[in-house]
């Protein structure tokens, strides 16, 4: 009997954009063969491993888990705790919240009254203007953080302004950017948003030097890659902050890092951010709430407590591909912040996996 045993999975169609997902998932597609090379009908008909995997995915899958906001356990369930909770609510909404709004308003007044003059009057003195604008942006971010009673503990050496370096961090919400920006004025790469956020992006963030991208545009990646390279080459530009996950994840997991940040030929400085959920869940579930609602939710909570670790800069090791480099950095960040890694591309939140993925299985 001829045993046509061409049944090993080949990695000949290695998609350079994505790492070998087969390494993570158990392969049920390989048809088992008896050691003597004799294939029985039982082996051919038995599709149970593949079916089990499919049913397993229906029952629970690691991708949906990344974006689940886990509501905290209600603690106000009995007659003693409930009035205490009510008192807390009144305190938060009637006293703390207005105070915070006041603080924020003052901050904006100071900011705008300094930023606008500086921006227009110092048009000729670029360097001076830039450094003042940087400090102002750092200041308004501090005001934002104060408006949520943010308690941020920074660990590790503060980012320094050096050429040929990028910073990468895990992403939970847009406030990640504000938390990091209050310490150092980074240039950041962001999705252009509509509404008042977009307005802020195009006016103030322009001054620190930001790069925009659009998830829905197909050719966008190449344009963005080029802009990134240009920015990093420029000596005067602010250090670049990139969130390689590409989307907000719920601060318990990390999804796959996009390799764009890791093939620029610079050192990569990982930054890990972990929010303390006891005070508030900082995960911005963009499918469920708008950014405004998210900010209001933060402003009516007790505090936003988080830890930020600035980790050791990493460079591409000889013989390492950018994808492996990205994985290594993701490992470092996940270990530091206590996050679990999942092998999924964050963009699957917005679109279906393409047919070529199914082929490879």
């Amino acid at each position: 009997m001829n045993s046509s045993g061409v049944l090993k999975s080949s990695s000949s169609e290695l998609d350079l954009d994505r790492p070998n997902i087969e390494d993570y998932l158990p392969s049920g597609a390989a048809i088992q063969q008896e050691p003597r090379g004799k294939l029985r009908l039982h082996d051919l008909l038995d599709i149970s491993p593949t079916l089990s995997e499919a049913a397993g995915a229906i029952v629970d899958d690691s991708f949906t888990r990344c974006f689940k906001s886990n509501p905290p356990e209600p603690w106000n369930w009995n007659i003693y705790l409930f009035p205490l909770w009510c008192f807390g609510v009144l305190l938060r909404y009637l006293i703390v919240f207005p105070t915070r709004v006041l603080v924020l308003t003052i901050g904006w007044i100071i900011f705008l009254s300094s930023f606008i003059p500086v921006h227009f009057l110092l048009k000729g003195h670029d360097r001076l203007r830039r450094s003042i604008e940087r400090s102002l942006v750092e200041m308004i971010c501090s005001f934002f953080v104060a408006s949520w009673t943010g308690v941020v503990r920074y660990h590790g050496p503060r980012p320094s302004r050096r050429p040929k370096q990028v910073f990468v961090a895990n992403h939970t919400s847009m406030i990640d950017f504000i938390v990091l920006e209050q310490m150092t004025a980074f240039a950041v790469i962001m999705q252009k948003h509509p509404g008042w956020v977009g307005l802020l992006q195009s006016t103030i963030l322009e001054s620190v030097g930001c790069i925009w991208f659009n998830r829905s545009e197909a050719k966008d990646r190449e344009i963005v890659a080029r802009k990134l390279r240009e920015h990093v080459q420029g000596a005067d530009n602010n250090p670049l902050l990139i969130f390689p996950e590409g989307t907000c994840v719920n601060n318990h997991y990390t999804v796959m890092f996009k390799k764009g940040a890791f093939e620029l030929g610079c050192t990569v400085c990982p930054v890990a951010i972990k929010y303390n959920k006891i005070f508030v869940d900082a995960f911005w579930n963009s499918r469920k709430q708008s950014f405004t609602k998210h900010l209001l939710q933060l402003m009516t909570s007790w505090a936003v407590v988080c830890d930020v670790w600035y980790l050791e800069p990493q460079s591409l090791k000889p013989g390492e591909t950018p994808i492996e480099f990205a994985e290594r950095v993701r490992d470092i960040i996940s270990t530091r912040a206590g996050l679990k890694k999942v092998p999924w591309d964050g963009y699957l939140k917005y679109s279906r996996p393409s047919p070529k993925h199914r082929e490879r299985k």
Binding site: M1, N2, S4, V6, L7, K8, S9, S10, I21, L25, A29, I31, L39, R40, L41, H42, L44, L45, D46, I47, S48, P49, T50, L51, S52, E53, A54, A55, G56, A57, I58, V59, D60, D61, S62, F63, T64, K68, W344, L348, R352, P353, H357, R358, E359, K361
Partner: protein, 175 residues
């Protein structure tokens, strides 16, 4: 159980448990309900194909389209009944029956040579040519005592797969 309300009463749980022949514990049914509501985004009472296809792990499975046909549009009771074949408590007969149904895509109670070839194609895709598959299948069927034009029934499947037991279990994560 018509529309998916966010509360599951004890009666509902017992009804579902009855329907799936007690193959899931009450805790597991509660967890499956949470999962069902998570997948059924607009609380229609059933999960549409689109919503199943938003699970990347499911889409990557070579048999996802076949399973999708069987599970699309089921209400919660039938959803649990479908998944009960994957319970550790389910018998080999029930598991083999599910496998048979996956092969028998036209639901005529018989699995033809062509049906088996198609499933094999889904699984081995680009690794084998159609001729290679036909040859292997024809040979293996002959050795098992079936000809190419023979139709396999459920009893045949049980005969071939049943004696060594089928390991097809999925654990429901109970938190």
């Amino acid at each position: 159980m018509g529309s998916a309300s966010s509360m599951l009463t004890q009666y509902d749980i017992e009804e579902v448990q009855e329907h799936c022949n007690h193959l899931f514990s009450q805790q597991e049914i509660v967890c499956l309900y949470e999962r069902f509501c998570q997948l059924d985004r607009n609380a229609k009472g059933f999960i549409s194909s689109d919503e199943f296809l938003s699970i990347p792990e499911f889409v990557m499975n070579p048999l996802s389209q076949r399973l999708l046909k069987m599970v699309d549009g089921l209400n919660f009771k039938d959803f649990v009944a479908f998944l009960s074949a994957f319970s550790t408590k389910a018998g080999t007969h029930q598991k083999v029956e599910l496998i048979f149904k996956v092969y028998d895509s036209d639901r005529n109670g018989k699995v033809s040579f062509k049906d088996i070839l198609e499933v094999l194609k889904d699984l081995s895709g680009s690794y084998m040519s159609d001729d290679q598959r036909e040859e292997v299948l024809g040979q293996v069927l002959k050795e098992a005592g079936y000809s190419k034009d023979c139709y396999l029934t459920l009893d045949d499947f049980i005969k071939v797969l049943g004696h060594s037991g089928v390991k097809m279990d999925v654990e429901v994560p109970v938190d």
